[in-house]
Symmetry: C2
């Protein structure tokens, strides 16, 4: 290890370690991966969770359709291959944020078990928290805030998850949210409590 | 705006704002984009800068070949198209980190002006700091720590920047580092001073 001195400070060779970043932020980097049908309430819960974390002076960042589909993944369509690549890239970015010590909250339908498991396996044990935001299809169709289910039923939207494309539910998610029982705020609290109890909110 | 109450706290609809994250971190998100020939010293300077920022309790994250080429961009090769896509994705990820309030430091040769300018234009004014890490080709070839120039001269490496592929120097970089004059530590200090003087190290 070569060393370089600046007044009284020693700069070591190589990068700042993850442990050092975590000490600075007093938290552990982790990916909170929310999965569930369209209209399950993933984004609403993610937003409230992000606010609750900020209130505790924790650094979280949300990855969702708004900041990913229009940016990093704007050159992807909706073919099976592109959907897999969409989730793969989101997983890689979540991994970078996790490495940076941030609590990355992703909020995508991510319907295929294989794609989610690939993300899980690319992270270290404990770095991937799968949150299954469950809603019955009937209830999701009733909510249908963007009218997407209606369009899908009318055949105007193809390959819509839950209608003519499968949703593969997580078998052993770290956290199960039953949105027909839990209000979004209570759901966010459940996740927050999980993070607290498992030591993510301290270095 | 619908509002939800938890004891005495009001959770607003929508995401935590960038301003809120910046207040939390007491800094501004920004992309410090280092560009220069192979062996110019980009990574060494980036590492020292990262350490100096940590020492000031600032949250920085370095994007480089190690954590990007093997992850997010592992499905890209070295064709002209893939090289452009490589830089585009790095730019998009740096943009996400910038939005997250982090000081993103990228360290890639990024030889084409067009690709760098695309990243610049995707960020807001002041969010993209181009750092030209200048070294003469003769000096880079003399350093050649990984023996890459030697291989390129021998024709064992094709499309090597500076040998049989062009390096388009920035015309108006925010910061110019002359690595034949500045030691890596002094170069990192120059960048740190720029960040301080331009208000990035406070919210």
């Amino acid at each position: 290890m070569s060393e370089q001195r600046a007044t009284n400070i020693t700069w070591h060779e190589g990068s700042v370690s993850r442990a050092e970043r975590q000490q600075l932020l007093n938290q552990k980097g982790v990916t909170v991966w929310m999965t569930g049908l369209s209209a399950s309430g993933k984004s609403t819960i993610a937003c409230i969770l992000e606010q609750m974390l900020l209130h505790k002076k924790k650094h979280a960042y949300r990855l969702d359709g708004d900041n990913v589909r229009m940016g990093l993944n704007k050159n992807l369509g909706f073919s099976a291959e592109d959907r897999a690549e969409n989730i793969r890239r989101i997983g890689e970015v979540a991994k970078l944020f996790t490495d940076a010590g941030v609590i990355a909250i992703t909020s995508f339908i991510s319907p295929y078990k294989k794609d989610r498991d690939l993300v899980r396996s690319s992270l270290k044990p404990g770095e991937f928290i799968e949150v299954y935001v469950h809603v019955s299809l009937a209830e999701a169709e009733k909510r249908d805030p963007k009218g997407l289910y209606k369009k899908a039923r009318a055949g105007q939207l193809k390959n819509f998850t839950g209608i003519d494309d499968p949703y593969e539910a997580p078998e052993k998610p770290e956290i199960l949210i039953e949105t027909e029982k839990h209000k979004p705020e209570d759901a966010a609290k459940l996740i927050l409590e999980y993070l607290e109890q498992h030591g993510y909110l301290r270095a």
